[in-house]
Symmetry: C2
Subunit: 271 residues, 2 copies
Amino acid sequence: MNPPALTIVGPRINSSRKIIAQAIQEKNEALIQHEARIQHEAGAAYIDVNAGAFLEQEVEYLPWLVRTVQAAVDAPLWLDSADAEAVEAALEVHRGKAVINSITFEKQRMDAMVPLAVKHSCGIVGLTIDSIRVPTEAEKKCEIAAHMVEALTAAGIKKEDIFVDPVVMPVGVAPEAGKETLAAIPLIRAAIPGIHIVCGAGNVSFQLPNRALLEATYLAMAMAAGMDVAFLDPCNTSIMASIIAAEALLGKDEFCIRYISAYREGKLGKK
Amino acid sequence: MNPPALTIVGPRINSSRKIIAQAIQEKNEALIQHEARIQHEAGAAYIDVNAGAFLEQEVEYLPWLVRTVQAAVDAPLWLDSADAEAVEAALEVHRGKAVINSITFEKQRMDAMVPLAVKHSCGIVGLTIDSIRVPTEAEKKCEIAAHMVEALTAAGIKKEDIFVDPVVMPVGVAPEAGKETLAAIPLIRAAIPGIHIVCGAGNVSFQLPNRALLEATYLAMAMAAGMDVAFLDPCNTSIMASIIAAEALLGKDEFCIRYISAYREGKLGKK
């Protein structure tokens, strides 16, 4: 299959999953590498690695994950950690251009991570959260994003290395959460040209049934709004079918060649 | 199930379907009434009726469809015809507020249909097509819509009775078609407050496989963009699942009550 027009970050190597936590503890390279390979083959351009469940050992486990994954796939990683020491250790062994995932617009978080991003010329994900709150309103998200990007570029990070995540909260708890985050995307696009906008949809469906349906629907709407990078499981066929359909519908798959191939390969489900 | 936040127009009673054409010719009331009932029960607020396959008999068949459908369901109809005589005959027997589906912004079409809409105080669908062309570009669609709504209101039609359809062409033929029509929706919303925006997604997937996937994905994106009325088959469970998910994600289903009920009733599919 051709590479997707949407840039996909594969989220499966996350220590919040029991099977992954166990594999990390047992240094089970084969399992981690399998998880990396299936995501890469299914279309992930980046592989996210997270060892956050192990507070004490994260500084040891995160670089181990980097070496293990990069021994299996030729892809850059997202270093999913709030611990600057672990991120630094991971960056030391990372090959190519990594992405730090993530910072909020808070002095302490910025001071810890931004110098690492500058030193290693890597990418960085900025959540639209500041020290005061996690705003729901689209305008406030855009305002935080603009201030954060200003600070990041002033520190020497290129716009093309910045991934703004307009953070969506669960719609089961906050009914306006999806709508406002979707509205934030074109606002951020217009206000801050040259950056990436990344969304994950795992949160939005929290505590609701049939999460893949909500995630697939949300990501298609976010693509239409202007998201260019998505945190999604490319091995989930119902989510990928929706992404491939959205690309065809948004003119990112000329004459629907990828859509038709995916259909022929049985990747779009029935009907 | 609660009524959907999106207004649905059920398209199944269309003479381009063989089974419907045959039922019309045979005056098979039971079949037509069954098609009306299943759509109404599945959430259609309006039922579309079309006898356009019968050029000569449309003036007889369209009012027959109106009487037959309204004997079975208590719902207003969309009179899907280009023939003003057939529409007039149908309006004479229609109970409640019908909608004329549709006109283009062309003198001949306007002159024929607008007086009927005024006389019967009914709704009218306006396609963003003028005598020169069927534009792809969002801005041009919006421009035609604005001129058309101006002419319709000048003739005495209320804004709330106008349904603008920004016409989407097949993406398999015109790669930009979906993107531009989706972009037209917020432009039209902003330029012409108070009207309805209606989309159908049947066209967009023309000659592509797995049409329900494209239709469901497109309609979710159109809802996020601001469409409030959709021409869709409410009996198609994969399309309806997507609509119900989109409503939950867009804050139109507070605390996801309808989404959760639909799940419990087995209407969202598996997972």
